[in-house]
Symmetry: C2
């Protein structure tokens, strides 16, 4: 599924992120149970797509990846906090995430709320304290990231998602939800790479459009996998979306319609990618990976 | 209780904060119910002690308050998020806050979690986007504030507090809890004022020590009010701490012992305040107000 260039990059860099994330938290002087709860979810697997998008963007501009690791970890912390809070009984009430018990199942609900709060807050501490970056870059990253993660971005998308439950939505409404719930943080991952690489505003805008289409494609693929995926590889029961009466692309468009829409957004994403001056092999392959993945 | 100088300052500046907080959120393009939930808790009264500490510090150094409003509002947003999450059924399970139904009682648990997440995230967006401040100042503020609010600060204190429930703690253990749970955010309010005023590192250290003692005094006074306060003015049932088997200063030291400890920390706070070159009338009166308040 993943070809040679991307596979090598993925193998190397995913290891970096997998090692760095718990290491950062282990070094904090904080209550042991809080540390354990934060690390548990950071270590609970995951594809690290957001950090990889950031690092692949940096690499595409031939910049040192060392400047990107803290920011990549911060974005993964924000993503992880959102999963912990989404899984809570008051939210999606999920017992399993990536095949493992969810944070509140292991540490209790109160600790899960606080572990999420802690990861979100620490992500900003991590960027603001990063040694390798100039002040104006760190500040722009914090600005973009808080906007993508906050009420105008991911948190707002989560609210729209909740409000859409039990109602049949239009494709446009569904797209707006995912645009914010998933797309904004994926887009800011690529944008952060571009900011770190110091490229022009125009270049950044094209890359952000690339990432927004990628975000929608990612969600469509998620929905398709829920219908036809392999239970053991996606880590949750097949058909759980339908059971939960969720709005999904296959439900609104049929399975073939959803696959066509996936192909459309991957093709749009690439169109924007080709507008930039980036050496685009890695990001192009990530787009193909997102469309073709089996989990 | 509050004398002339402080009362005038409080009346004027509390109005500024009370008006600005909802105004900032009203202007965001976000789902209506999320906006309502965020504004509900921002408007639910409160003494605005953290913003007032920041503004009183700026004023004490004869600096324009206009440079402090965004940061003061950001700190109050962080404080408000922490109250919303603390009140959740999985945490303190409180139905009332300042005499009004808590956020989750009005908007439901899921929305309360997201309103808290939204306020926390937006506080960093607000500072990073503030127009009046140079990049290095904004970055230092974000660094200090995320540390004070995160796992090493307020979130960690909340975990320690949870873990201490049902166990009789030593005064030192209780102090450590409150140092992080309440003290760190109060201290960073004063420190932010000092950062905005551009004073020396030494000056900032003395002011932070002032604020840390003030934070402990604040908590001791809260505990005393729970024993002997007036129910209608503190907005929660008298004796609720004892009923919840909470560790409090009066429980560990007796009421007289707690009052002596309060006086000690107010006096220590002032000692550090007098070490600085600040025109200290307002902060001194705030310390007295914290010790003498009836709610």
């Amino acid at each position: 599924m993943i070809n040679g260039t991307l596979k090598h990059f993925f193998d190397e860099e995913k290891k970096q992120i997998d090692n760095r994330l718990p290491h950062i938290i282990e070094n904090l002087n904080i209550p042991v149970q809080l540390r354990d709860a934060m690390i548990y979810s950071l270590k609970a697997g995951g594809k690290r797509i957001r950090p990889m998008l950031l690092l692949a963007t940096l690499r595409g501009y031939n910049k040192p990846l060392s400047h990107g690791y803290d920011v990549a970890c911060a974005i993964e912390m924000i993503h992880t906090y959102s999963l912990i809070h989404d899984d809570l009984p008051a939210m999606d009430n999920d017992d399993l995430r990536r095949g493992k018990p969810t944070n509140h199942k292991v540490f209790g609900e109160a600790m899960a709320i606080l572990a999420g709060d802690g990861l979100l807050t620490y992500s900003f501490q991590l960027i603001s304290s990063s040694m390798l970056l100039p002040d104006n870059v760190k500040l722009l990253l914090i600005q973009k990231m808080s906007q993508a993660a906050g009420p105008e971005g991911m948190v707002g998308g989560q609210v729209l998602d909740m409000q859409g439950e039990g109602i049949t939505l239009s494709v446009d409404q569904l797209q707006k939800i995912h645009h914010h719930k998933t797309g904004d943080l994926l887009a800011v991952s690529v944008e952060s790479g571009a900011i770190l690489a110091g490229v022009s505003e125009n270049e950044r805008i094209s890359l952000t459009s690339f990432a927004k289409h990628l975000g929608i494609a990612f969600q469509i693929k998620d929905d398709i996998l829920d219908v036809e995926g392999d239970e053991s590889s996606i880590g949750k029961p097949i058909g759980s979306d339908e059971e939960n009466d969720k709005n999904t692309y296959p439900k609104l468009l049929g399975l073939d319609g959803a696959k066509q829409k996936l192909a459309f957004h991957i093709s749009e994403a690439k169109k924007y990618l080709y507008e930039t001056s980036i050496e685009h092999t890695l990001l192009e392959e990530m787009a193909d990976y997102i469309a073709m993945r089996s989990k």
